[in-house]
């Protein structure tokens, strides 16, 4: 009997015996399992994230951050130093779903937010402290549409390793979208207080702004599903924004892995100093 005939026989015998019982078992076991977020919240989040991806064609890495929502205040900052009136730590609250705007958002113009991810990586390496390295990096995304990996623009993610251990990072340059829903979400994401979904909790949220008015935003520390992370969202005067996230876990997203370090590889001040650097806004298409 040939190998294929053997495979067919073994497969057909076992399939005849177990296919239906396994199918029933899966149905019964999962019958009461429901999506944690309600359909309205899911659809709203998908529309906001989808509009961003549709407009900027950065599906893979950007979609990973689509569900995050945050909120803010304001603080003078100077290069190398930040004044920081502390905002009270927030409690986890229910997120209000974002209303879905019209389906056809206009394409934003090309700009520094389209910086190719390999260039972002070279820039990041020059800005990191001497004792922190990029040890894992993702500069491509795959939309699952059969086109294969594409070079990302305006997005970079991976793992940083500092003296105390590794932690995931994500750096996003978001295109401007003033006046539409996406722009409103980015604006809310750059302010304190910071609303968090479900079990996520805000540890600190501090408003920041540059004296010349070029950048406004927030710097915060959150704890979500066992992962502690520092993040900042800074909106520039052209409406585009810089988002930088560093965690104490190497998992792609909060909660995916146990903490791999006692604290994220960068302190909050370091996260902010890196994100405000004008080099991120220097690239021209």
């Amino acid at each position: 009997m040939t190998h294929d005939a053997d495979l067919d026989r073994h497969h057909d015998e076992l399939d005849a015996q177990l296919h239906e019982p396994l199918h029933r078992h899966l149905q019964d076991t999962l019958a009461d399992l429901r999506a944690p977020a309600g359909p309205a919240a899911l659809a709203a989040a998908a529309a906001v994230g989808g509009r961003r991806a549709r407009s900027r064609r950065r599906a893979g890495l950007t979609l990973a951050a689509a569900a995050s929502v945050a909120l803010v205040g304001g603080l003078a900052l100077t290069r190398g130093g930040v004044d920081r009136p502390a905002a009270p730590a927030g409690q986890a609250v229910e997120q209000t779903p974002t209303p879905t705007p019209g389906a056809d958002a206009p394409e934003p113009p090309a700009g520094w937010w389209d910086t190719p991810s390999p260039r972002m990586l070279r820039t990041l390496r020059t800005l990191l402290p001497d004792d922190v390295r990029v040890t894992t990096v993702l500069t491509t995304y795959d939309n699952g549409d059969g086109a294969g990996p594409q070079t990302a623009e305006g997005s970079l993610s991976g793992v940083l390793t500092g003296p105390d251990g590794p932690g995931a990072f994500q750096l996003l340059l978001r295109a401007p979208s003033p006046g539409d829903e996406r722009g409103s979400v980015i604006l809310r994401d750059s302010r304190c207080p910071r609303e968090r979904l479900g079990a996520a909790a805000v540890v600190t949220c501090t408003a920041v702004s540059s004296p010349d008015g070029v950048l406004t935003g927030r710097l915060s520390t959150d704890r979500e599903r066992g992962t502690t992370y520092h993040s900042t969202e800074l909106v520039a005067d052209d409406g585009a924004s810089v988002y930088f996230y560093v965690a104490d876990s190497s998992g792609e997203k909060p909660g995916y892995e146990e903490p791999s370090a006692p604290t994220p590889p960068l302190a909050p001040e370091q996260v902010l100093d890196l994100a405000v650097d004008p080099v991120w806004r220097a690239w021209r298409p």
Partner: protein, 181 residues
């Protein structure tokens, strides 16, 4: 689909299919947080491609295909076995008419633990063959595999998962939880 506009259609689709998609995501990822994220990513991609979804012969299958492809393309995901075992059971919804009388949250954890032993592609075969009940040929088409490869993976999966199933004296198959670690 209705003619009320794409966003309304999309919202209706999500309302009708979210739970089913979430269950598929749970089987693939074996982790509730990862399933939630996979579901949201899938729905976002479906929104981007909504014109194609609406025009497809089978919009539901199209979106389930996005979910499976997205799962397989995320290559930096590590085994979720430990995370699954650390999670508390999913809450039961009192009065849920769909809940079978003998459903047990521990069974779900046992199922997730058993699936976590399989490779991502083997899990995808399980979801398509035994959850969505597709044929070998359709599963092969969805995953870009030969039919022989699907049979091979199905065989492996059945041998691995049959410990979840036991025969009752009357011939009825009942599930028993495997020991978890």
């Amino acid at each position: 689909m209705g003619g009320r506009g794409p966003d309304a259609d999309f919202t209706d689709f999500v309302a009708a299919r979210a739970d089913r998609l979430y269950r598929s995501a749970y089987l693939l990822t074996t982790s509730a947080p990862a399933a939630e994220d996979l579901l949201q990513t899938t729905l976002t991609k479906a929104y981007v491609a909504w014109g194609r979804v609406r025009a497809a012969d089978d919009p539901v299958a199209y979106v389930h295909g996005i979910l499976t492809k997205t799962f397989l393309s995320e290559r930096r995901r590590r085994s979720s076995r430990d995370l699954t075992l650390a999670e508390p059971p999913e809450p039961w919804h009192p009065g849920d008419a769909r809940r079978p009388p003998d459903a047990d949250p521990a069974e779900r954890l046992a199922l997730a633990a058993a699936l976590a032993e399989l490779s991502p592609l083997d899990r995808a075969v399980v979801v398509l063959r035994f959850w969505e009940d597709l044929s070998v040929a359709r599963t092969a088409t969805h995953l870009g595999l030969s039919e022989a490869a699907v049979k091979n993976r199905s065989l492996r999966a059945l041998r691995s998962l049959r410990g979840l199933l036991t025969d009752a004296p009357d011939g009825t198959h009942h599930a028993t939880p495997r020991s978890t670690r």
